[in-house]
């Protein structure tokens, strides 16, 4: 959601280590990042402050665990996007969220999944709300190295045959 951009960011974790000179902060131990409607949960978050002072965060799930991402989408009361992946990169300046390796992103409308993607690399640009999928963790599409699965749920409800008969 656009408004998230100007909201404050809350981060909770078990351990925090920061190196002011290199401007790197490492948070570990069930890390929860919330900012407006954006919520990210992971086991570890490494936050590097760029020259312009914006944050570039790399989140990794715990052993076998995945990073969970959830944010509201504009253009509707209950439009959400939810994603999981082994590694999530979030760039505060470009507001690009990259889901890397075993990524699975779902679009929800009124709690119903309207669209789903799976693949090695999925990136979601929450500012322009466009979406890129690629089949290698680097983000380039290499032919033959894996499939992207795109499932778009039907919008129309199929009428139940039995009810009509009654």
């Amino acid at each position: 959601e656009q408004a998230d951009r100007y909201k404050k960011t809350d981060i909770e974790a078990e351990h925090y280590a920061s190196d002011d000179r290199k401007k790197i902060t490492v948070l570990t131990g069930d890390v929860v990042v919330t900012r407006g409607t954006l919520t990210i949960k992971s086991a570890k978050a490494v936050n590097t402050e760029t020259a312009e002072g914006t944050m570039f965060v790399v989140l990794t799930g715990g052993p076998g665990g995945q990073v969970f991402f959830r944010q509201k989408r504009d253009g509707g009361p209950d439009l959400w996007v939810e994603g999981v992946a082994s590694r999530v990169e979030y760039d505060e300046k470009t507001e690009l969220v990259k889901f890397i390796t075993k990524a699975h992103v779902k679009y929800l409308e009124n709690k119903k999944v309207t669209q789903e993607q799976e693949g090695e690399f999925l990136s979601y640009d929450s500012k322009n709300e466009n979406f890129i999928g690629a089949n290698t963790a680097s983000g380039q599409s290499v032919p033959g190295s894996g499939r992207i699965k795109l499932t778009i749920q039907p919008k129309l409800e199929q009428p139940k045959p039995e009810e009509q008969k009654k």
């Binding site: 404050k8 809350d10 925090y16």
Partner: protein, 214 residues
């Protein structure tokens, strides 16, 4: 011949008796002095009450190259001979971190245990224990933003440039506020570690709103 107790014999025995008294007497005085002396130094055993105090002072600790390592301003400092340490009321400690940024530390009370203290285990640094409303202020500097740290207890190790506490701590800076329990700060390498229950809030990023490149 019967033994006759004549006058001169009497005088002779009297002399002997006198001599005996003098000998015994001196022995008795010696004994009294020794006992008095022994009881004397037991009285000077390390006493628990302070033996001196200083008021409205500025204590400057020089590092071995003669430069000021840190200095402490305080209302009152009492020396406690038992542990050879100092108790300071309303201390203010000014020191510099690696980038020559002045760091100001204020607390209700401090106990300074110097590394060379008598009858204490050798330490690799002076220990300054700070109790009650401890605050550490570091103004803006070319490399870092202004930060302020607050806690109920803080241990300063100036010689190895470390600050640590196991109590809840709050760090406020331009970008936001961080709460945690337990902290270790290495001022030399400017690394901060928060040990548990970390809760950080960063306000919206000024850098963003300056050039909203939508």
């Amino acid at each position: 011949m019967r033994y006759v107790f004549t006058a001169d014999r009497f005088r002779l025995w009297l002399m002997v008796a006198l001599l005996a008294v003098v000998a015994l007497g001196s022995f008795w005085i010696l004994e009294a002095m020794r006992r008095n002396n022994e009881e004397g130094n037991s009285r000077s055993a390390p006493r628990t009450t302070p033996d001196y105090y200083v008021e409205n002072f500025n204590f400057i600790r020089l590092s071995n190259n003669g430069k000021t390592n840190y200095h402490i301003i305080g209302k009152r400092m009492t020396h406690r001979p038992r542990d050879d340490d100092y108790e300071v009321f309303q201390p203010q400690i000014n020191s510099f971190d690696a980038d020559k940024v002045p760091v100001t530390v204020i607390a209700d009370r401090a106990v300074i245990a110097q590394k060379g203290a008598a009858n204490q285990a050798p330490k690799d640094s002076d220990e300054i224990h700070l109790f009650g409303n401890v605050s550490v202020d570091r103004p803006d500097s070319p490399t870092t933003k202004r930060t302020r740290l607050e806690s109920e207890y803080l241990l300063l190790l100036p010689d190895i440039n470390i600050m640590k506490t196991d109590k809840p701590v709050t760090i406020t800076s331009a970008r936001g506020e961080v709460h945690a329990i337990g902290m270790i700060v290495n001022n030399a390498t400017q690394e901060t570690q928060l040990l548990s229950k970390v809760k950080a809030t960063f306000n919206s990023n000024p850098a963003l709103s300056r050039h909203p490149n939508k």
